[in-house]
C-alpha cells in the first residue's frame, strides 16, 4: 500500500511537472470517456433506471397479452385481467390501468389533462402513498359511476391549484362532471412510464359483464410479486390460465396471426419505464451509439498512447537509471501504469463533468411528449461506469508504452546516446505509426457512419409525405368538457369549419381524428366484399375520420371519385375513401369506385366513393400502408384536430382561430397546437438525434485523428531533424523536404483509410435497417468522407512539413 501511495505521489508529481502533456492527454481522455459516459447516461435514463416513486420496484412486473396481430406485448381486456387476478397466486396484488384524458373546466381556461383510469388496487400494488388525503381504494370502483372521485398528481395540484391545502374533499369538474378530490398522490410519483406524466387517476368503472368485453383489449396490467415468487413462475401460472381461457372463449382468446390454433400468449416482464417493444428499438440505437463512442474512446487511447510513447523517449534516461538501480521491470511497469491511471482518472472526472453538462440539454433532443420524466443525471450506475471505463482506459493506453519503456537498452540510455553515428530515418513501421493508422481507420468508420445517418436524415426530411405540409395550422379540440350530444357535436364541427374558413388569411379548413405522421393511428378490422384474405393475413387496417375538405386542406390529390360531401351524413348510405395502396392491394386492377367494405362482420357495408393518393400515415419513413377514411358526419369523436391551411405563416392566424373557437364554445379545450411542418420535423427527432450525436462523435474522432497525425508527424520531424539537415546539405530544396514529410503522413493515411473503408463496408451493413433512402455502402458518402479525412490529414501533416523546411542544416549537423 505504501508503494502504491509512493507511485501515486510520484505519478502526480510527474504529471504536474509536464502541464502541457497532462493537459492535452486529460482533454483527449475527457472527450473519449465523456462521450461514453454521456451515451451510457442515456442508456441508464432510458433502460436501466428503476421506477421512481414506487415501493420495491424490483417486485413489480408487467403482464402483456396478445390480440390477433399485436405480437407478444399487447394490452389486455378487463375480463382477462379479472381471470388473472383471481387465478394466479404468485401476485400479492394485480392492478390494471389505461390512459385517460379529461377536460378540466372551472374558473380558469379549460385544460385537457392526461391521466389514468385505474383499478382500485393500483396504488396499493405500486406502493404509492398520498401526499394529502388518500389514494384510490377498491371500493372507489363501485362509486365510479355514481359519486366519482379522483386523485390528482402533486404537479397538477401545484400548477393548477396553487398548492391549495383545502383542495382535498372539494370537487373539481372533469369532462363536465363534478369529481371529489380524495387525495393528492405522492410528490415523486410520476406514473409508471416515460412520457407525459399522468395528472389524475380515476377509479376504473368495471364494464358490463358481456362476452364481447373479453375481446376489448385496452388495459395495461401491473402486478406485485409475492415475496419469493419469480416472474417466470408467475408467467407459468398466467400461461395455464390463458390456456383455460382459450378453451372457454376461443373467439377472443385463441389464435394469433402466427399461431392460429394456440392460446393467445401471456408475457410477464419486469415492469419498466419503457415498454418491451420500444426497449428493443432503443437498445438497438443506443447500442450502435455505444459502439461509436467506444471507437471514439479507442481513438483517444491511441492518441494518448502515442503521447506516452513520445514522453517515454524523453524519460529514457530516468527509466534507465531506475532499472540500473535495481528496479524490476514489473515494478517499473507498475509505476508507469500508475501515472496512466492518474491521467485516466483525471480524464474520467472531466468526462463526468461533460456528462453533467450534456444531461441538461440531451433530453431536449427527444419530443417533449416522450421525454417527460427522462432523467439523465449522474447516479451511482453512471459513476461506476465512469470508474470502470476510466480504469480500463488507463490500462489500454498505458500498458504498451509502459512495457516498451521498460524494455530499453540500458547502456545506451545511460550514456544518453540519443544519436547513433548513422542518421535515423522513419525506421520500421513502429508502434506510433501503427497507432495513427488505427486512429485514421477508426475515425473513418465513425465519420462514414455519421455521414450515412446525415444523408439518411436529409433523404427523410426531403421525402414526399404525400401531402403539402406548408402553411397548415393544427389545433386539437376536446369537446368532452362541453355538454353536447352527438348531433350537436356534428353541428358544432360544421360551424367550426364554416366560421374558421371565413377568417382572413385562411384558405381552407378541415377536421380529422388522426393527424398524419403524428406517430399515432387507429386500426380496425376490415371486411372487403369480394376479397378473400390469405391464411393468417392481417386485415386490421389503419383508418382516419375526416371532414369534407380534408383532402383539399392537406393537399392530397384524388386519383378517382369524390370527396366527402354535405350529403354524407349519419342517415345516408355509409361511404369511405380509400388510398391507392388499399385499392391496389384489395381491388387489383378493378375499378375501386362502388366496391364495398365493412368494419364489422355484421355491420352495414360502406361504399368506396373515392381513391386518394398515398400519403404517410403514422411515420414519415414507413412504406405505403393501405388505409381508408370515413366521414366525420357518419361517426365522429369527442376530440378532433382542426387543420387550417393559410395563405401565410399559419401561426399568424392562430389568435383569430383561437378566439373564434372560444367564441363558439368557451369550454372547448384546445391543445396540441402546432404547425404541420413542425410536426413533420418532430417526427424525425430520433433520427435527428442519432445523426447529430454521430456527427459530433465523428468530428471529435476526426479532430483526435488529426491531432494524432500531427503529433506523430511533429515527432517524426523532430526526430529526423538531423536527417533533414543532411538532406538539405546534399541539396534538397523546400519542396523535397515537404514531399518527404507528407509522403510519410499520406502513407499512414492511405493504410488507415484502406483499413477503415474495409471495416466500414462490413459494419455499415449492420445498420442498414436504421437508414432511409441511402444505401449502407453509399459510394458518395464513402468517397466524400475519405476525401474530407484526407484533406484534414494533409493539413495535419503540412504544418510539421513546413516546420521541417525551416530546419537549419548547420544546427542539425552541429552536434558533430
Amino acid at each position: 500500500m505504501g508503494i502504491l501511495w509512493q507511485d501515486l505521489r510520484y505519478g502526480a508529481r510527474m504529471l504536474w511537472k509536464s502541464p502541457g502533456f497532462t493537459l492535452v492527454a486529460v482533454a483527449v481522455l475527457a472527450l473519449g470517456i465523456g462521450a461514453n459516459t454521456t451515451i451510457f447516461s442515456m442508456i441508464n435514463g432510458l433502460l436501466l433506471r428503476p421506477l421512481v416513486g414506487v415501493e420495491t420496484p424490483d417486485r413489480l412486473v408487467a403482464v402483456y397479452t396478445s390480440d390477433y396481430s399485436s405480437g407478444l406485448y399487447g394490452s389486455s381486456s378487463y375480463p382477462d385481467y379479472l381471470s388473472f387476478r383471481d387465478g394466479a397466486n404468485s401476485f400479492e396484488t394485480l392492478a390494471a390501468y389505461e390512459s385517460a384524458v379529461a377536460s378540466l373546466t372551472g374558473n380558469d381556461e379549460p385544460e385537457r389533462l392526461r391521466g389514468e383510469s385505474v383499478t382500485g388496487n393500483y396504488f396499493q400494488t405500486l406502493g404509492v402513498g398520498a401526499f394529502a388525503g388518500r389514494t384510490l381504494l377498491p371500493e372507489d370502483e363501485a362509486t365510479a359511476g355514481g359519486n366519482p372521485v379522483v386523485v390528482l398528481s402533486h404537479n397538477l395540484w401545484q400548477r393548477r391549484f396553487n398548492s391549495d391545502p383545502t383542495l382535498v374533499n372539494r370537487t373539481i369538474t372533469l369532462d363536465g362532471r363534478a369529481h371529489t378530490v380524495v387525495g393528492i398522490a405522492a410528490e415523486n410519483f410520476r406514473g409508471l412510464h416515460l412520457g407525459a406524466p399522468p395528472e389524475f387517476w380515476l377509479p376504473m368503472m368495471p364494464p358490463p359483464d358481456e362476452p364481447a368485453e373479453r375481446g376489448s383489449r385496452g388495459l395495461m396490467i401491473v402486478g406485485r410479486l409475492r415475496a419469493g415468487a419469480t416472474a417466470e413462475a408467475a408467467g407459468a401460472q398466467l400461461k395455464a390460465i390463458a390456456a383455460r381461457l382459450a378453451q372457454d372463449f376461443p373467439d377472443t382468446n385463441r389464435g394469433t396471426l402466427e399461431r392460429p390454433d394456440e392460446p393467445r400468449p401471456v408475457t410477464v416482464t419486469a415492469e419498466s419505464r419503457i415498454g418491451p417493444k420500444q426497449r428493443e428499438t432503443i437498445a438497438g440505437v443506443t447500442g450502435m451509439l455505444m459502439l461509436m463512442v467506444g471507437l471514439v474512446l479507442l481513438i483517444a487511447c491511441a492518441n494518448v498512447a502515442n503521447l506516452l510513447l513520445a514522453r517515454a523517449s524523453v524519460r529514457r534516461r530516468e527509466i534507465a537509471i531506475r532499472l540500473a538501480l535495481g528496479s524490476g521491470r514489473l515494478r517499473l511497469v507498475r509505476q508507469l501504469l500508475t501515472e496512466s491511471m492518474c491521467l485516466a482518472m483525471l480524464g474520467g472526472l472531466l468526462g463526468l463533468l461533460l456528462t453533467l453538462w450534456t444531461s441538461d440539454f440531451l433530453p431536449k433532443f427527444f419530443p417533449a411528449e416522450d421525454a417527460g420524466g427522462l432523467d439523465l443525471s449522474v447516479d451511482w450506475r453512471v459513476l461506476a461506469f465512469t470508474l470502470v471505463v476510466s480504469l480500463l482506459t488507463g490500462v489500454v493506453f498505458g500498458l504498451v508504452p509502459a512495457l516498451q519503456a521498460s524494455r530499453q537498452n540500458l547502456l545506451s540510455a545511460l550514456k544518453d546516446d540519443t544519436g547513433a553515428p548513422e542518421v535515423r530515418g522513419f525506421g520500421r513501421f513502429g508502434l506510433r505509426n501503427a497507432l495513427v493508422v488505427v486512429q485514421v481507420a477508426l475515425s473513418l468508420i465513425l465519420l462514414i457512419c455519421a455521414g450515412l445517418f446525415m444523408r439518411s436524415l436529409r433523404a427523410a426530411s426531403s421525402s414526399d409525405p404525400g401531402f403539402n405540409a406548408e402553411n397548415v395550422l393544427l389545433t386539437r379540440m376536446e369537446t368532452r368538457g362541453v355538454k353536447m350530444g352527438r348531433e350537436e357535436e356534428q353541428l358544432f364541427y360544421q360551424r367550426v369549419q364554416e366560421q374558421v374558413t371565413a377568417l382572413p388569411g385562411v384558405r381552407s379548413v378541415a377536421l380529422s381524428y388522426i393527424v398524419p405522421v403524428s406517430g399515432g393511428g387507429m386500426r380496425t378490422s376490415v371486411f372487403i366484399e369480394g376479397y378473400q384474405p390469405k391464411p393468417n393475413e392481417d386485415t386490421e387496417l389503419n383508418t382516419n375520420i375526416v371532414s369534407p375538405n380534408y383532402f383539399k386542406t392537406m393537399g392530397i390529390p384524388f386519383v378517382q371519385g369524390r370527396d366527402f360531401g354535405a350529403a354524407d351524413t349519419k342517415g345516408a348510405p355509409g361511404v369511405v375513401i380509400v388510398n391507392e395502396e388499399f385499392a391496389r392491394r384489395y381491388f387489383g386492377g378493378a375499378n375501386p369506385l362502388g366496391k364495398r367494405v365493412r368494419t364489422d362482420s355484421e355491420g352495414p357495408y360502406l361504399e368506396v366513393v373515392g381513391v386518394a393518393k398515398n400519403a404517410k400515415y403514422r411515420r414519415l419513413l414507413e412504406e405505403p400502408l393501405p388505409f381508408f377514411y370515413t366521414p366525420l358526419a357518419q361517426g365522429g369523436m369527442s376530440s378532433m384536430t382542426l387543420l387550417v391551411r393559410t395563405n401565410g405563416d399559419p401561426l399568424d392566424v392562430l389568435p383569430s382561430v383561437r378566439a373564434e373557437l372560444k367564441n363558439l364554445n368557451k369550454n372547448l379545450t384546445l391543445y396540441q397546437i402546432n404547425t404541420l411542418t413542425t410536426q413533420l420535423s418532430e417526427a424525425l427527432s430520433n433520427e435527428r438525434m442519432v445523426a447529430v450525436l454521430l456527427t459530433v462523435f465523428g468530428v471529435a474522432a476526426l479532430l483526435l485523428a488529426a491531432i494524432g497525425l500531427y503529433g506523430v508527424m511533429s515527432y517524426a520531424v523532430a526526430r529526423r531533424t538531423h536527417e533533414i539537415g543532411v538532406r538539405m546539405a546534399l541539396g534538397a530544396g523546400k519542396g523535397d523536404i515537404i514531399r518527404l514529410v507528407l509522403w510519410q503522413g499520406m502513407l499512414l493515411l492511405f493504410i488507415g483509410s484502406v483499413a477503415g473503408l474495409a471495416a466500414s463496408f462490413a459494419l455499415t451493413r449492420l445498420m442498414s435497417s436504421l437508414l432511409y433512402g441511402v444505401s449502407a455502402t453509399d459510394p458518395l458518402t464513402f468517397v466524400g468522407i475519405t476525401a474530407l479525412l484526407s484533406v484534414v490529414a494533409l493539413l495535419a501533416c503540412y504544418v510539421p512539413a513546413r516546420r521541417a523546411t525551416r530546419v537549419d542544416p548547420m544546427v542539425a549537423l552541429r552536434y558533430e
Binding site: 547513433a420 553515428p421 548513422e422 542518421v423 530515418g425 546534399l730 541539396g731 534538397a732 523535397d736
Partner: protein, 250 residues
C-alpha cells in the same frame, strides 16, 4: 576537374559573427582564402578556431556576415536559400565526420539521394551511383543498410555519395574523426586517390598526420588564417612513413 588560373574558390575578408544572448562570437575574423581547381587543401587548427564555420561557408550551408565568396567565378555569398541548395547539390560534395548516411536507405539509395534532388533520370542515376560505388570499392554492398557496414565502409559510402554528383569541390569535415587509425588511413588513401584523379578537396582536420596528405595546409587560429604551408614530402605509396617537411608560404 582540370586546373585553371582562376581560383575555384575565393574568399575575400570573410567574417562570421554569431550572436547569442547579447554575446558576439567572432568565428571568422576577416579570412582570405583561394583554392585552385584540382588542389587538395587541409585546414587545421585548435578547437573553436573556426574550421567548421569556414567549411560550412565554403559548402554554402551558412553565409558570411561580411565579405565575399566566389565559387568558380560566381559570387555566392548573398544567394537565397533555394539558390544555395541548388549549388550545394550540383557543385559541392560533402563528407562528414559521422558519415550522415540515412539509416533507412540502402547504400545504393544513400548514394543516389543527391542525384534524385537534381532530377536526373533513373538510368543516369544508376550509372553514376554504380561508378561512384565502384570507385570506393563498395559496389558489392549496394543493397546493404548502413547499419550492416563497418565505420570505414560507411565513410567510403559517404565519399561515394559526395563524388557521385561530380561536384566541383569535395568538402570533408574531419572525415576520419569517427574511425580507428586503420580505417582512417584507408579513407585518407581514398581521398588521395580521388585527388589524383583530379578532384579538388578541402578537408578540415585537427590531426596533423592527415594534414600532410594535402598539397597545402592552412592553419586557422581565432578565426584567421595564420599560416599556410605547401606540403613537399608526403606519405609514401605504401603508407610506411608519415614524415614530411613543409614550406611556409604565408
Amino acid at each position: 576537374m582540370s586546373a585553371s588560373k582562376q581560383p575555384l574558390i575565393r574568399l575575400q575578408d570573410v567574417k562570421k559573427v554569431f550572436f547569442t544572448d547579447e554575446v558576439e562570437t567572432h568565428a571568422l575574423a576577416g579570412t582570405h582564402l583561394d583554392i585552385a581547381n584540382g588542389e587538395y587543401v587541409s585546414i587545421t587548427g585548435p578547437s573553436g578556431c573556426g574550421k567548421s564555420t569556414l567549411l560550412s561557408i565554403l559548402g554554402l550551408l551558412d553565409s558570411p556576415t561580411e565579405g565575399k565568396y566566389w565559387l568558380n567565378g560566381k559570387l555566392v555569398s548573398d544567394l537565397s536559400l533555394s539558390e544555395r541548395a541548388l549549388i550545394r547539390n550540383r557543385e559541392v560534395g560533402f563528407i562528414f565526420q559521422s558519415f550522415n548516411l540515412i539509416g533507412d536507405l540502402s547504400v545504393y539509395e544513400n548514394v543516389e539521394l543527391p542525384l534524385t534532388y537534381r532530377g536526373l533520370s533513373n538510368a543516369d542515376r544508376k550509372t553514376r551511383v554504380t561508378e561512384a560505388l565502384e570507385k570506393v570499392g563498395m559496389a558489392h554492398r549496394a543493397k546493404h543498410l548502413p547499419s550492416q557496414l563497418s565505420g570505414g565502409q560507411q565513410q567510403r559510402v559517404a565519399v561515394a555519395r559526395a563524388v557521385a554528383g561530380q561536384p566541383l569541390i569535395l568538402l570533408a569535415d574531419e572525415p576520419t574523426g569517427n574511425l580507428d587509425s586503420k580505417n582512417g588511413e584507408a579513407v585518407m588513401d581514398l581521398l588521395r586517390e580521388l585527388h589524383r584523379g583530379g578532384a579538388t578537396i578541402c578537408m578540415v582536420t585537427h590531426d596533423p598526420r592527415y594534414a600532410t596528405f594535402a598539397d597545402r595546409a592552412i592553419y586557422l587560429f581565432d578565426g584567421r588564417v595564420v599560416k599556410e604551408e605547401m606540403v613537399t614530402f608526403k606519405q609514401d605509396e605504401e603508407g610506411a612513413s608519415l614524415v614530411g617537411s613543409h614550406a611556409e608560404v604565408v
